[in-house]
Symmetry: C2
Subunit: 133 residues, 2 copies
């Protein structure tokens, strides 16, 4: 039978995963900066309505990246934290590499944002090695 349970697959596709990574990363940032992550702040940072952010966070909760009770702050689950850390690490390496080869800071920031999701671990290793030199 045709795997109806695909509905419950953790990460349906690449685009889907990118969203998850972006959001958990942001939630971690907000937690670090303000003690906790609130829906309104998440929405503001991504430049979307609270309704859109709420929907996405609802999905992330369904997929066990985050937890939250109604009208309360958002928290990362252990695996959400792991994903956030990996994403942040990836981001940082790409960003620093870009700066190292001469890309201006603001541009490196923007480009890294988009590129981080598409850099394989093999390539990441190579970037990291080059950073040390």
């Amino acid at each position: 039978m045709r795997v109806k349970s695909r509905k419950f697959t953790q990460l349906r596709n690449a685009h889907h995963r990118e969203k998850a990574e972006d959001y958990v990363e942001m939630i971690q940032d907000l937690a670090d900066q303000q003690g906790e992550a609130r829906l309104t702040d998440v929405a503001k940072r991504f430049g979307v309505s609270t309704v859109t952010a709420h929907k996405i966070l609802f999905r992330l909760q369904r997929e066990k990246w985050i937890t939250s009770k109604p009208y309360r702050a958002i928290f990362l689950t252990p695996r959400g934290k792991r994903l956030a850390m990996e994403s942040k690490r990836r981001h940082k390496i790409v960003y620093q590499f870009l700066k190292k080869i001469g890309v201006p800071e603001e541009i490196a920031q923007i480009d890294a944002e988009g590129m981080e999701h598409h850099v394989s671990s093999e390539t990441l290793k190579i970037l990291r090695r080059r950073l040390k030199k």
Copy 2:
């Protein structure tokens, strides 16, 4: 008033543009390799159903990247060709840069695929300069 005509904006968002770039690039490739691009081949290359490919191509036609008559091959408009060329150029530079810094070919191919859409022209210039050295 709140720009209802946003509905007719050429490229609604980044993800939207990426799809357009991927498809025009593929259509150009198919035209080069087989003389013309057929729906079935496009769908096969992207690993989606012909129905999905058809829908996307319909949108690209609406947005004047391509032309085609019912049941016939697909052709790029002049601006479609320009987009395809730019995309291919971008892709090639990223791919070659990755290979140059030591990323294995197959991995460079995959990573370049994803990264090409997120590399700003400033960063691209820097990559190109490094390639020449």
